[in-house]
């Protein structure tokens, strides 16, 4: 009796303890209910009064440790409805959560935040669905241009896709396409990006508080994921616009087991120009020129087993400008012909394998390659009859720049205990650069001479390991400490980098949030750019023995809170840079023949700081946001501006973007965007002055004195002409371009047909045709009003006044 009493007593005491200790793991994937595609960074919660939560990884996998018994499982994802289900778990459970996508604009949030609906300004998620109703440029939706409406992110120049993030330069943004870096994201000299939104599933943007799993770029990570394809049914879309046309198809390869996605986009300027050329060309007089761009995206994936899945992603895109001519005169047996072309593009591919070891450990292994090339060529040849002989002469020059890299990486997600997700992994990248290879070939009847400059490639490698822990405590505290080690090798020169990362804060449930972060990052490659336009002539170069990797440190402090149907967020940041490079004074990518290392200034430092504000409304018929950024960005190089600090060319004091979308009816959406920014800095000539050189002839002075008695103006003009004038520019970037502002509006008419959905979009870019500055030019008109003005003939050139557009698209 006593034994039974004691046994019962101990059982009653130990039962709660035993119950508390009995945790089970719920793991699995979160999927789109209609297509079967995995949802990345979807939120998954379990519990009633106390929520335990996590987010899915880059392949839709999650793992949660919950108490045994009845629990409420919830999941949510931006652009999708909410999932909620009460389940009973008696042991470790693997399941799939399927969520339906939202359909109408009324239900779609414009900006997504990750994870846990945190109101971070440092991180965003954009999907094509979110931007489908934003105003366009010439009818072309572009995800990258849409990012420029967010705080802290702006374009380098009017209508271009180069991004300037928190005072950094365009090369400091890491663009990943299915985990593969892409070096030049610009089509059409920067007016379009290479990302065809029909092929894109999501874009995650990180500009502060960088997790340790990312490295190699100082200012931002733009992680673009391609669609995987519907696992259950075939679908597609097509569109025709003023600039390009697109076609996308996706569907199951094996229903429920494998899917494909292919997407193509092409322009037709070359077709427009070739028709009149074809009509006017003759046998003896031919002219032809044209410009074309295209993108091809492809992806295929197979679910090999419940624990294994493989993916193959491919991309190829090109821009080509070419012109040719032929002049032939039969009477004198003369022939002149020539070609001129400029071509650039990217090719990349990656093979990935996902493996789930158990309900706590997930792994993604990836092998990837990428290639960026730029080729510029010019050739001409002549033949002319000289009596019985034919004289021939030929000239051919080519300039090319190539970047290749091969990447191998393994990333692990480990869920050791509740509220912890440990990520760790390693990455190896092999680089090959050929920056600025020049070849020249001269040929005549009897001789041939060729010259090759800068042909030797630069080979280097980068080795990284990292570990981080994403901690989400029930009391609202979240932390993400991490560490990344990087070794960059260039020849026998090693550059080590230890990169601590931290972000953390406190979130009141459903209410305000405070976050602080710190990052230290090393970047081993640089982009030399004269203009900041995102021109294909921008040169990617590696760190070498003479040129160390660039580095940055960034701290940020942010706050966010819901305000009724609005949400408000603000964040301040401070960044420092070192080991920056830039073109030396007087240098230009147009000047060929020199090694690029001799045209640059090294050892530059920089600083950028500012405040970002975002007020957004995600619900109701009227949605949108207001973004404001106040910022400074400065640079300092020994050989520039006399070694003094100067404003960076992308420094802009105030930057405002207002975006609104209104659903007039279920099938009519009106949207508008207004942007304002204070002018970019610019260096302008202030005056001229004569130069001297040694030895000057003594009679220079005698002559000028002699002349002066005859004609004063003749004297000074002639003296200046003989000796030359120098231009005084004053301080670098001392002046400001005029303020930039622009209104874009568009209206979309959607109709559901029997077998497809069609959309007509009408738009107006720069609706009130404000003459925004593109670049500065000078007039040398010395007569009339200009001769009298003290500010001599400086003029603003505008690229894009008002531009209407129309596009037609279908989804089936």
């Amino acid at each position: 009796m006593v034994h039974r009493f004691l046994l019962l007593s101990f059982s009653l005491i130990l039962l709660p303890i035993a119950t508390l200790a009995q945790k089970v793991i719920i793991s699995g994937h979160v999927l789109d209910a209609q297509s079967g595609e995995f949802l990345i960074n979807a939120n998954v919660y379990a519990g009633e009064s106390t929520l335990i939560g996590t987010t899915t990884n880059s392949y839709g996998f999650f793992s949660l440790k919950v108490a045994k018994g009845i629990t409420i499982l919830q999941a949510s994802y931006v652009g999708y409805g909410k999932f909620q289900k009460t389940i009973a778990v008696s042991g470790d459970t693997t399941l799939e959560i399927r969520i339906d996508p939202l359909v109408s604009l009324n239900e779609v949030s414009i900006i997504g935040h990750k994870p846990g609906d945190r109101s971070s300004i440092s991180e965003f998620r954009i999907t094509p669905k979110m931007i489908q109703y934003l105003p366009t440029l010439a009818g072309e939706r572009d995800i990258i241009r849409s990012l420029q409406l967010l705080p802290g992110i702006r374009a380098g120049t009017e209508a271009t896709t180069g991004l300037v993030v928190r005072g950094g330069s365009p090369d400091q943004n890491l663009f990943l396409l299915d985990g593969n870096p892409i070096y030049n994201i610009s089509h059409l000299y920067g007016f379009l990006s290479v990302f065809n939104d029909d092929a894109i599933n999501s874009i995650d943007v990180i500009k502060g508080g960088f997790p340790a799993r990312y490295g190699g770029r100082l200012s931002s990570i733009i992680d673009v994921r391609m669609k995987e394809g519907n696992l259950y049914k075939h679908e597609g879309s097509a569109s025709i616009g003023l600039l390009t046309s697109k076609l996308s198809l996706n569907g199951p390869v094996i229903k429920g087991k494998g899917s494909y996605m292919i997407s193509a986009r092409r322009s037709y300027f070359d077709l427009f120009t070739s028709i009149p050329a074809w009509l006017s060309n003759t046998k003896t007089d031919k002219r032809n020129s044209g410009y074309s761009l295209y993108d091809l995206n492809g992806k295929i994936n197979f679910i090999l087993s419940p624990t294994d899945r493989i993916y193959l992603s491919l991309y190829h895109g090109n821009d080509t400008y070419s012109e040719s001519y032929l002049d032939k005169e039969d009477s004198i047996a003369s022939l002149n012909q020539g070609t001129n072309n400029l071509k650039w593009g990217n090719s990349l591919g990656s093979l990935r394998w996902n493996h789930t070891f158990n309900n706590k450990l997930f792994c993604n292994t990836q092998l990837a390659w990428t290639r960026y090339h730029l080729n510029s060529g010019y050739s001409y040849s002549t033949e002319e009859s000289q009596g019985e002989n034919m004289e021939k002469f030929g000239y051919n020059s080519e300039y090319s720049s190539i970047v290749r890299d091969i990447t191998g990486r393994a990333d692990f997600n480990y869920y050791p205990k509740e509220n912890h997700q440990v990520n760790f992994g390693a990455e190896i990248i092999g680089y090959q650069f050929r920056p600025g290879v020049q070849s020249y070939l001269f040929t005549t009847d009897s001789t041939s001479r060729d010259t090759l400059i800068n042909a030797i490639p630069f080979n280097s490698s980068s080795w990284s390991v990292y570990a981080e822990d994403q901690i989400r405590l029930p009391n609202g505290i979240f932390l993400n400490p991490g560490l990344r080690f990087n070794l960059y090798r260039s020849g026998n020169k090693n550059y080590w980098s230890v990169e601590p990362r931290f972000s953390g804060g406190f979130e009141w449930p459903g209410s305000a949030r405070v976050e602080v972060s710190y990052s230290r990052i090393q970047q081993s490659i640089h982009l030399l750019s004269n203009s900041g336009l995102g021109m294909p002539t921008d040169l990617w170069v590696p760190s070498t023995k003479r040129i160390p990797p660039q580095q940055s440190q960034q701290v940020s402090l942010g706050f966010g809170t819901p305000l009724g149907s609005f949400h408000f967020g603000m964040e301040g940041y401070y960044k420092t840079f070192r080991n920056l490079i830039t073109y030396s004074e007087g240098a230009s990518f147009l000047v060929q023949g020199n090694n690029w290392e001799d045209k640059i200034e090294t050892g530059g430092i920089g600083k950028a700081y500012g405040m970002e504000f975002l007020l957004r409304k995600d619900e109701g018929k009227l949605k949108g946001w207001l973004a404001y950024t106040l910022s400074w960005s400065k640079r300092k190089f020994e050989g520039i501006n006399g070694g003094n600090w100067y404003f960076d060319k992308f420094d802009r004091r105030h930057d405002i973007a207002i975006n609104l979308s209104y659903q007039i009816k279920k099938n009519i959406v009106l949207s508008g965007t207004w942007v304002f920014a204070t002018g970019n800095p610019v260096t302008l000539p202030e005056t001229i002055f004569p130069f001297v050189h040694y030895p000057m002839d003594i009679n220079d002075f005698n002559y000028t004195i002699l002349m002066s008695s005859q004609n004063l103006f003749g004297f000074v003009t002639e003296m200046a002409r003989r000796r030359g004038e120098l231009i005084d520019y004053g301080e670098r970037n001392k002046y400001r371009m005029p303020d930039y502002h622009r209104l874009d509006i568009s209206i979309s008419f959607i109709k559901e047909k029997k077998r497809f959905q069609r959309t007509w979009s009408l738009g107006l870019y720069n609706a009130y045709s404000h003459l925004n500055p593109f670049y500065v030019t000078y007039t040398d008109d010395t007569s009339g009003a200009w001769a009298q003005k003290s500010t001599a003939g400086v003029r603003i050139v505008t690229l894009l006044p008002v531009m209407p557009s129309v596009s037609y698209s279908i989804k089936f």
Partner: protein
């Protein structure tokens, strides 16, 4: 539809360029240029910059007070600069006594500003030379006018000794005696055979990157510290086409000058700006100036000129 395209076309054509006042600071700045040599009279140019980029009028500043101080001693007084014509202030003394490396301070006081600059006299260059295959070929001028054209080509082997004085910045030019005076409305030729007008021959020093190669038509400025100190021998490729000389071309002159680092930096930027030219995409070049409160260059020079005769 046609009306739509017509309107669009007109909008595009009419909205491309616009005037904008950047508020550029065009207040005239004092310009002071002076390259002073211990073996010749000093001449300082003092002018003002124009108020417009397209007015090539450098207004001379008259009545400025000019002071020269050596080694921070009491300044040489104004009466050293007795000629003040049209912006050129010329000393009367044949030699301004200055030892090498002596600090020379300039102060120019005008009604609007005071500008200052500091420099020094570098040591005289020590060098030896050897002439290799230097030939001048004579041709009759076309159209015939009794004058001659000359083609000059050859090499000069130059060895500069930097070990004794440690000085590493030099300027090298090769010139011929010319009789052509540039003038308006047309060229003017001097018939005086003893004219001391000299013009430049093309000079090329085919060395790799260690040399900062500058304006090849006017000579070279060189920083010898930029490369192997054991290799201080230079091969100068000389080339020139001289037209319309009344007499024979008997000789050319080689001038090797020790210059200051400031003058080297000034020349570097001058040539960078010249090369950048009208390239829309080139980075703007700020010309170096050691004139505090103004623009220009104030620098000491010390040179040796050798005559090279053709046989």
């Amino acid at each position: 539809m046609k009306l739509y395209w017509a309107i669009l076309f007109l909008l595009v054509c009419n909205s491309c360029r616009s005037d904008y006042d950047f508020g550029i600071d065009t207040n005239p700045k004092p310009i002071v240029n002076c390259l002073f040599h211990p073996d010749s009279i000093w001449r300082i140019e003092i002018t003002r910059s124009p108020a417009s980029l397209w007015k090539y009028h450098f207004a001379p500043i008259e009545g400025a007070t000019v002071r020269i101080s050596l080694n921070s001693q009491n300044p040489l007084l104004l009466d050293q600069f007795v000629s003040k014509d049209l912006g050129f202030y010329t000393s009367s003394a044949e030699n301004v006594p200055s030892a090498p490396f002596e600090t020379v301070r300039l102060e120019v006081i005008t009604e609007e500003n005071t500008v200052t600059a500091t420099s020094y006299i570098p040591p005289k260059p020590l060098f030896s030379k050897e002439i290799l295959d230097l030939i001048a070929t004579k041709r009759e001028h076309r159209p015939k006018n009794g004058r001659f054209d000359w083609d000059i080509e050859g090499k000069i082997h130059l060895k500069i000794d930097t070990r004794k004085n440690g000085h590493v910045w030099y300027s090298i030019v090769v010139r011929y005696r010319s009789n052509m005076i540039y003038g308006s409305p047309g060229r003017i030729y001097s018939n005086d055979p003893d004219t001391t007008i000299f013009d430049y021959l093309r000079l090329d020093i085919p060395y790799p990157d260690a040399f900062k190669t500058l304006r090849k038509t006017d000579g070279y400025c060189i920083d010898l510290s930029a490369y192997d100190p054991e290799m201080d021998e230079l091969i100068l490729n000389v080339q020139g086409d001289v037209d319309n000389l009344p007499g024979d071309l008997d000789f050319i002159v080689l001038t090797v000058a020790s210059i200051t680092e400031e003058y080297l930096m000034y020349n570097k930027k001058v040539i960078a700006q010249y090369v950048a030219g009208q390239d829309l995409f080139s980075e703007p070049v700020s010309v170096y100036s050691n004139i505090k409160g103004g623009l220009g260059i104030f620098s000491g020079i010390n040179s040796v000129t050798d005559t090279i005769r053709f046989h």
